[in-house]
Symmetry: C2
Subunit: 167 residues, 2 copies
Amino acid sequence: MTSQVSDRSHGDRAADEPRWLDAEEQKAWRAWLYSTQLLQDRLDRELTHQTGISHAYYEILVALSETPGRMMRMSELADRCLSSRSRLSHAVSRLEERGWVRRQVCAEDGRGQLAVLTDEGFAALEAAAPVHVESVRTHLFDQLSPAQVAAMRDIGETLLRHLDPSS
Amino acid sequence: MTSQVSDRSHGDRAADEPRWLDAEEQKAWRAWLYSTQLLQDRLDRELTHQTGISHAYYEILVALSETPGRMMRMSELADRCLSSRSRLSHAVSRLEERGWVRRQVCAEDGRGQLAVLTDEGFAALEAAAPVHVESVRTHLFDQLSPAQVAAMRDIGETLLRHLDPSS
């Protein structure tokens, strides 16, 4: 949970020494990391428990639902969901078994595969969405002031400009 | 990535209707979720690439390094690392193979197992820490103003009081 070994000395850093976190940065980093992990864990558990859909699968359905024709190249879908190709392929196979997604060859160029959200998949997403949004409200927005929500967005967008310049 | 289906209507919510996110909340939630996922992914990839230690394994080593005697009950370690018992047991087995952790029966009550960080494990953590802290600096602290760091800590601590009241 931390970025440095606890009994390491902090004083008199030479030019080539690591830029250790100071006590304030350490507290900010731990609070962010731990709250983030707990929140993701809670949202995933509530969604899975109440709908049988993990948060990772939910994000795949959402990504497809927002595209024209409710379809996307497998490679783009993997990027969008920050998933490896093999992990996404496994997830899409599970979603195919439920009848929520089907694969088809890309008509545009005959190469590559598309993942297509079925009507059943869209209905499953519609049924799960109220459960998920209630969790997000309860564990995130109900806890924060409007100023904190604005700061959360500002921090998120600042980090995105660095981590995903194309966004 | 979102909490609602994209073409759902937002108007005239009845008392039992889901508390959908408005456009501003939606933007804040997406920025937070996506930046968080990208940051965790980047930190994990850099650490794994440069040290052969995943972020999840790194956190286990850190947790052990911070306890008296560098040891912890397996059950506590699982809680601390937000891991299921079976997933943690698997990870500890991998760390045992590297000689970084060993298991021993809890001397206090003869029941339960302790995970103990070995000197080799502590040395591996010491070697990995500068790599990890440089990633955290580069992708998080170097991107944020002091006011944003303070807000990040405030938001994290606010969420922790709700998600982990014992903290």
